[in-house]
């Protein structure tokens, strides 16, 4: 490293700017979390103080537990997210393998057809999706959401996974063929394990938008027993808008699972983005 790029004044200025922006990014989350543990009076008297023995209160969480069905919402969100991700990964990997491994007529067209959905948001088709879900009786079931999110996630998944599958060595696959393995066995036993890092990237990319989506739960599955956590907290907060303890606690309860998942997966996510998966 040469000297021109290492100037103590610059270093301080850079850290200053980054710390300032980090504070801006974290401040709202911090305020919500600390105030959710305070009594109503303390929330208003000293909103920026940490909860202490005097102001500590769990009253908000008690209201949320009593009034809202957050465990059910959480469970619904989990089911929808995990099921959609599994379908996106399985179907996406299969299609990506077909497109990257075999030469057949229409290969390019099929690839372009599947790539259309990367740029065009699925929400544009909402009116017809709702009509179809009503006609098939899937409205107000978790299946409606799972199908929509699977369709939404597939284009990018196929695109990213086929890039990675092209890098899997042909020798390996041909060795498998000589040993008499079927194409299916080659795919599931030899190829899939090799593209696991790419699958993790696709999963992490899709997880956040699915978990946080408000539009489709609101339109396709607004019934009490199918509400996702995002929709559930939206409705709950709307009803309890004057009960600040409950609102702050509900917000914190919605933040925490995502934050925990982020801490677990952030390295994977950042590596996925920075490895140029979305060029």
């Amino acid at each position: 490293m040469n000297k021109a790029r290492r100037n103590p004044f610059n270093t301080v200025a850079m850290h200053g700017a980054l710390i300032l922006y980090t504070l801006i990014a974290l401040f709202p989350v911090f305020v919500i979390l600390i105030n959710s543990f305070k009594s109503r009076r303390a929330i208003f008297r000293e909103p920026l103080a940490l909860p202490n023995a005097d102001s500590f209160s769990m009253i908000g969480y008690e209201t949320v537990m009593k009034q809202g069905d957050f465990f059910l919402y959480f469970q619904n969100s989990m089911i929808v997210t995990v099921a959609s991700l599994s379908f996106i990964l399985l179907f996406g990997a299969m299609a990506a393998y077909a497109l990257s491994e075999y030469q057949f007529k229409g290969n390019l067209i099929m690839g372009l057809y599947l790539a259309l959905g990367i740029m065009i948001p699925i929400r544009i088709g909402t009116v017809a999706i709702l009509e179809m879900m009503v006609a098939t009786g899937l409205v107000n079931t978790l299946w409606a959401l799972i199908l929509v999110y699977t369709a939404q996630g597939l284009p990018l998944a196929v695109f990213i996974l086929s890039e990675f599958m092209r890098q899997v060595s042909d020798d390996l696959k041909n060795a498998g063929r000589i040993d008499g393995l079927s194409e299916y066995t080659i795919f599931f036993r030899l190829v899939l394990p090799l593209v696991r890092p790419a699958m993790a990237t696709v999963a992490v990319f899709n997880m956040i938008p699915i978990w946080n989506d408000l539009w489709f739960p609101l339109i396709l599955a607004p019934a009490e027993e199918t509400k996702t956590l995002t929709l559930g907290s939206q409705v709950f907060i709307g009803q309890f808008v004057t009960d600040w303890n409950a609102v702050l606690s509900a917000l914190s309860m919605a933040i925490l699972p995502v934050l925990i998942l982020y801490v677990i997966f952030s390295r994977q996510l950042i590596r996925g983005i920075t490895s140029g998966a979305v060029k």
Partner: protein, 304 residues
């Protein structure tokens, strides 16, 4: 030569993805565009051609709302382009500095708002900016700017810009990450060659790095465009379906939701809703085409 036999495994590999994608995404997309050409008279569907679009663009009752939503949407997009992307690029430039310590820590922290749902973000900011709670006014007071405070989300002239800035706050992590990734791919030799010619620090950024990351800036621009023109959640979560005050924060997403799903006293109209979806589709398509044919192909890519 014999007709080649059908290789069934290809069909099996492709079928699930193609079926789900076609049935749940492509077919409804075109069906929505088709529905926009119909209307409902006495509970039967009647073909009316482009009548719905004529109503949407020219009938005063509809067109006023439509142009309002469209104009707001462009302003929403403009704020993102002028605030979010420059801040994202600046943060990425700082983070990619080779001697910076704690870069991973800053990166992860600044990305946190991006993973939160719109509901959390909308309400959290609503509470913080609320004049009742008083966090924002008392913080402004601390730096002697209390007179600047206004209930931003409740005033027609500020609400949309405030929401756009909240959305910027939430999503600045995405351009930051993509540009950061692009900056990391610039080879050290190029920067060293520049140093020998006396180009360092800020001028190295403007003269060497920025031209090299232009393709990535193009990508974040089109991602911002598509994302903003089908935005809905943040406005709905913080201002409700009516996009108050007095529709000043109404964008195409909330307008379409109200129209096709109905709200309060207005009944839902799937055909007008489809017409709005058709307009959104056209706008997004034009944007994507401008990017693909006008920008991407003309952009100079440098061999690195």
């Amino acid at each position: 030569m014999n007709r080649p036999r059908i290789r069934w495994h290809i069909v099996v590999f492709l079928a699930p993805a193609v079926l789900v994608y076609t049935a749940v995404m492509i077919f409804p997309l075109f069906n929505t565009l088709r529905l926009a050409l119909f209307t409902e008279v006495d509970q039967t569907r009647v073909y009316v051609g482009l009548q719905n679009f004529r109503t949407l663009f020219f009938d005063p009752i509809w067109s006023e709302q439509f142009w309002n939503a469209l104009g707001n949407n462009f302003w929403f997009f403009l704020v993102h382009m002028l605030v979010q992307n420059p801040i994202g690029i600046a943060l990425a430039a700082l983070l990619s500095h080779p001697s910076l310590r704690f870069a991973a820590l800053y990166r992860s922290a600044i990305f946190i708002p991006t993973i939160l749902s719109f509901v959390i973000v909308g309400f959290a900011w609503k509470l913080i900016l609320s004049p009742i709670w008083g966090i924002a006014p008392s913080m402004l007071d601390a730096v002697g700017l209390k007179s600047l405070f206004a209930p931003w989300l409740g005033k027609e002239e500020y609400a949309l810009t405030t929401l756009a800035l909240i959305s910027v706050w939430q999503f600045v992590g995405i351009p930051m990450m993509l540009i950061y990734a692009a900056l990391l791919t610039i080879p050290e030799e190029i920067l060293e060659a520049g140093e020998i010619d006396g180009i360092t620090g800020a001028s190295a950024f403007w003269k060497i790095k920025l031209p090299l990351i232009l393709p990535s800036i193009g990508i974040i621009s089109i991602l911002t465009f598509v994302g903003n023109f089908n935005a809905f959640d943040l406005i709905y979560a913080s201002q409700g379906a009516l996009a108050g005050p007095d529709f000043s924060t109404d964008i195409l997403g909330t307008f379409m939701y109200r129209t096709f799903f109905g709200f309060q006293l207005q009944l839902g109209d799937p055909h007008m809703g489809s017409a709005i979806a058709g307009a959104m589709f056209a706008i997004i398509l034009v944007g994507v085409c401008i990017y693909l044919f006008g920008i991407q192909t003309r952009m100079r890519r440098y061999q690195m």
